[in-house]
Amino acid sequence: MPKITYIEHNGTEHEVDVPEGWSVMEGAVKNMIPGIDADCGGACACATCHVYVDDAWREKTGTAEGMETSMLDFAEDVEENSRLSCQITVTPELDGLIVRMPRSQH
């Protein structure tokens, strides 16, 4: 299973195995990793699953498109490497992925 490292805003790191086909959001939420709320459960309807993708991984995760882009446009503290983690699907190529959490999801 691909391993993903989630880094909380305070620097705490969590490395977990996330099944292929799940979203990066689910990997955090289902492992009790704080910092991602994901209120809508991945429907791209809440923008509370915002993460920063580590620069080395941006090409592999791809960039935000369509609905996701316009949701992100209005989230807090958005940077160039911002994504909604429910819209990134875990694949074998993402083994080793590192994402960081924003200060707050609201």
Binding site: W22, E26, V29, K30, M32, P34, D39, C40, G41, A43, C44, A45, C46, A47, M67, S70, M71, D73, F74, A75
Partner: protein
Amino acid sequence: MSETIVIIGAGQAGGQAAETLRREGFAGDIVLVGEEPHIPYQRPPLSKKFMAGEMPLERVYFKPPEFFETEQVELKLNIPATRIDRERKIVTLCGGEELAYGKLLIATGARVRTLDIPGADLSGVHYLRTIADVEGIQENFAEGAKLVVVGGGYIGLEVAAVAVKRGIDVTVLEVEPRVLQRVTTPEMSAFFEQVHTEEGVKIRCGTGVTAFEGGGKLEAVVTSTGERLPADFAVIGIGIVPNVDLAEEAGLAIDNGIVVDEQGQTSDPYIYAAGDCTNFPCVPVGRRIRLESVQNALDQAKAAAAAMAGTPKPYTQVPWFWSDQYNLKLQMAGLNQGYDEAVLRGDPGARRFSTFYLKKGAVIAVDAVNSPPDYMVGRELIAARAEVPPETLGDLEVSMKEIRQKYT
């Protein structure tokens, strides 16, 4: 010795409360009692991706099974609680087992409103609230099968969208003159009726159901307009009734839901409630309401759990909701009841537009179709009770960013 917290109802609110209790540092025992055989799961996919077969069951679960072990949440599933004894602080389960509580959370949700007409118990007539209901409905999914959906609310329309994509012949019956009448404007209703019609769904408004007919299995649906529509199966989505019986029998205050305050506390200081079963003071809306949404279940459960853990964080969020049909994402915020002006922004023909609802000049709600900026900024405008001139809201030349800057 730390006390035990018992949660009745292992749904979205119950599951969230267990998580928040641990996050807030509650170290005592947590017992989660659920009538269904499942660990807490998300209901929205039931009429969307899970029903369509695009999301496996394990992803519908709110948390994986291991979560309850790691976080030491004791599960008592497949068994309903039958009584709350407030004097002895005991919850009785079906079969007689007694659970003592220090504090209790009631998160019993709601049950479907049923149709009491001839033939409603025929096989092939379904309601939709649980995983078991979806499994029953899916057994009828075959190309060319005839489905009658009773009720043109969000759930009925979502089922219609999923079914028609599977090659099923779908008719939606709505007793009111238009679909979504209770929740949105005539223009928005017309838009959804048109999209569904284009996708091949037959929508009949002003049409109720008087009987289901068939010899053991459903064969036809009889309408209030005197028609007999052949049907292989029917799905009824005509609303829900909050599960307040346990609370009511225990003598707690009830008023269209279990009456709670901003912390989720009921009229008994040792008992809290959260989710579809509550009636609460909605801070941004300025009155008591009962809501049926994930946002409410999660935010209220977080507030109640925080208060129970001794770290209160009152529930003050603006209500929001969403619905997915075809390639449409409908996002709603606020409550539009009592609006005196509705402003259209964008072009329904392009399937990208929204309706802003104003009351005495202030934005109180927004319904956005494929328009996340309108929804995201709308939430802020509602929270700020912003007074935005209707002509500004309706003017695509003024971006939502500019509106946000100027009015929040």
